[in-house]
Symmetry: C2
Subunit: 426 residues, 2 copies
């Protein structure tokens, strides 16, 4: 008899039918003799619809009120889910973020969890009830106001509950089967991973993989929560995300083989490249430039500075496409002060990342990447590396082809194509 | 500078446009220098839509979860309303039932208010904010669960807040201009009343008038809250509902004339008549019959028992049409025990009520009614009276005509027809 925390996203509870399906799944887990705590997102597009309403009544909605508004989405889905379970003959109780003791700071729209005091949840569990908790929301103890956790908040809610209740596992349900060696929509031969280390998962997520939110994985890593990423639409097991010194639950079954050197290949089409051309080659210019970019709120990923002979140099960096316009505007405004010659904006790039903890102990991992790309006649524009990751920026048109080549080169291809479910993976 | 509580119903906040209109109205009140506390209902048909969802996932939704679900409707409207006010440059804060200190018993779906502790509302008012409160909902202190107040709950919320905050007036906004001497859809010459006593209002509401909910009027009467029933769609004043010894705020202006003997004429098409025919004329039979009816959950209104010569008697009574089937079934099941001969069901009746506190001090009020009806050749089937009311049951087809005749006979007709707004008055 274990304590299992399950998280179901909006696409898993989009309508009455899917709510009933999820309810059945929860009841089955209970029938198997486990205590169940569920974190649920708002139904389908509810959150977006509420946002639209907010923008109709107010150009810039007051943050406190926006959180009050958005938090109602999960209240609806959790109450419906609890009813559905009830009508299957099982005791279920729903709790809002504040009732669940999800205490956050006062940063409306992007609140951080500061404490979890699940007193009422424990009571309900002790009384044999299935517990349903509103994802994505909490409350601030000082202002006594309702807050929301921002993007991926429900994943974070689930992991935080699992940590606070010392759950055996935190199952994150979505419409994909688990973590793959690559995005199956880009690389059909991608394989589902039996397990992955949380550090590898973080690198993959940070570089384009969409199955889990970085924040939830970080929280799980910090608090030693075992994550099991799996699909709402199949009963087959998904992928375990293992933190420091955590053992794979399936090792006993011998499902675990020798650790692969490379865990996966991530592809990212979401970045744009900005080149600041003809920068005076004097100390402090880079600092100037990136202070300006940072002030524009743009999130810089990769940076390269070309060596210069002319006394002038080019500095290129990548930012999310959405941030590019702001960064360009900010830089243009300071052109004379900085003294650069011109700005080049390129949103036709793609980023390919190879992630593997094995890179620490195995040499020649990068060589395989570069050989594969040159053999494919694919030109590399930028390179950056971390302890367990190599990323390269290519032409966007080359990205898919390059990813397939590299995936094969690292021996990650499966026997057959992966099955892809409808939906986005969230 | 007064403290004004305002209540806006679902039809007043049905969409973004109307929310902005209501926000403007609230801001105008604030601009006039008043403190404002607003109780708001869920947008348009939200509550019904949520109920439909509930019935899709569960045949009999768990009451606790149903309240959790329904309470989200007001959270949406109140947050949007607060945002709209904010974007007009005024500080506004929304509060859920529990945040507002609306403490109820644990009767989910029909909770009664046991205490109101508006600590946070006072804080917000002291800080100069406009306060928006979710109507219709509260919470139970023992179970710490969210409850809803049932039909007309938002009116009750508004009146309860007005009482707890010692407000100068509780303005109940709907899509009609106030309380009329009769339903303008039945009697075009009905006039809007400048004011009405709460006891008269209760009799009118109990006998078919739909503008205010009995429960809210009772609460106001008990706690000395002045109600001002008025329209969201016009700025003209509506009708003041005056409790014991309360003075009409407009008397100063001389708007108040001599009290009329009859305040209004109420029409009610919602009742059905059941006749239990051939009841043995022995003591205790009536008691037997009405115990059976009560157990069926039917709410008996009028009762007449014909004198009998034959040793058998007929007992007729009226119940809401919705309750009739249950009452008939229950009675049929006990036919032999009670020993009556047969049951007659008649849902083609209409009830006409004349209400006026003046009946206490003036004689001949009922004579006017009976003369008017006989002059109109209208047959009376049942009669019942209270201290300030005379009600008669007629054929449903005669009701409108009879009401017009009586309205004229009591001198209640206006110079011209009343203007009727779209909507139901709720």
């Amino acid at each position: 008899m274990a304590l299992i925390v399950q998280k179901y996203g909006g696409s898993s509870v989009a309508n009455a039918e899917s709510i009933k399906r999820v309810a059945k799944r929860i009841v089955d887990t209970r029938r198997a003799g486990h205590d169940v705590v569920v974190a649920v997102s708002a139904m389908g597009d509810t959150t977006d619809e509420l946002l639209d309403l907010a923008n109709e009544v107010a150009p810039i909605p007051a943050p406190r009120e926006l959180d009050m508004l958005l938090s109602s989405g999960e209240r609806i889905s959790m109450a419906l889910l609890a009813m559905a379970i009830h009508s299957m003959g099982f005791e279920a109780r729903s709790f809002t973020g504040s009732q669940a003791g999800m205490i956050t700071d006062s940063q409306h729209g992007a609140a951080r969890i500061v404490d979890v005091t699940p007193v009422r949840l424990r009571e309900a569990l002790d009384e044999g009830a299935i517990v349903i908790v509103a994802g994505f929301q909490g409350f601030n103890r000082d202002t006594r106001d309702i807050t929301t956790l921002g993007r991926g908040g429900s994943d974070t809610t689930a992991v935080a509950l699992a940590a606070a209740l010392d759950a055996d596992v935190c199952e994150i349900y979505s419409d994909v089967d688990g973590i793959f060696t690559a995005d199956p929509r880009v690389i059909p031969r991608a394989q589902k991973l039996d397990h992955i280390s949380s550090e590898e998962m973080l690198e993959l997520a940070a570089n384009g993989a969409k199955v889990l939110y970085i924040r939830a994985v970080e929280y799980a890593r910090r608090h030693g929560v075992l994550i099991h990423a799996r699909s709402t639409f199949s009963s087959s097991e998904g992928t375990y995300v293992l933190g420091e010194g955590m053992k794979n639950p399936r090792e006993a079954e011998g499902a675990d083989m020798e650790e692969p050197i490379v865990a996966g290949v991530a592809t990212d089409f979401s970045q744009a490249k900005i080149t600041v051309a003809g920068v005076p080659d004097v100390p402090g210019k880079a600092a100037e430039i990136f202070k300006i970019v940072a002030k524009s709120g743009a999130n810089v990923d990769m940076i390269v500075q070309n060596v210069s002979a002319t006394g002038r140099t080019d500095i290129s960096f990548t930012v999310p496409k959405a941030d590019a316009a702001g960064a360009l505007k900010a830089l243009a405004g300071e052109q004379t002060e900085v003294g650069f010659q011109n700005l080049v904006h390129d949103d036709q790039i793609g980023k390919l990342s190879v992630v593997g903890a094995g890179m620490r102990t195995h040499s020649g991992v990068s060589a395989v990447l570069f050989e594969a790309l040159s053999a494919g006649g694919i030109n590399i524009e930028m390179i950056s590396t971390s302890e367990i990751r190599i990323s390269v920026v290519l032409r966007g048109d080359d990205l898919a082809e390059a990813a397939r080549t590299v995936h094969t080169a690292y021996g990650l291809d499966g026997e057959s194509d992966a099955t892809i479910h409808a939906g986005t993976g969230r």
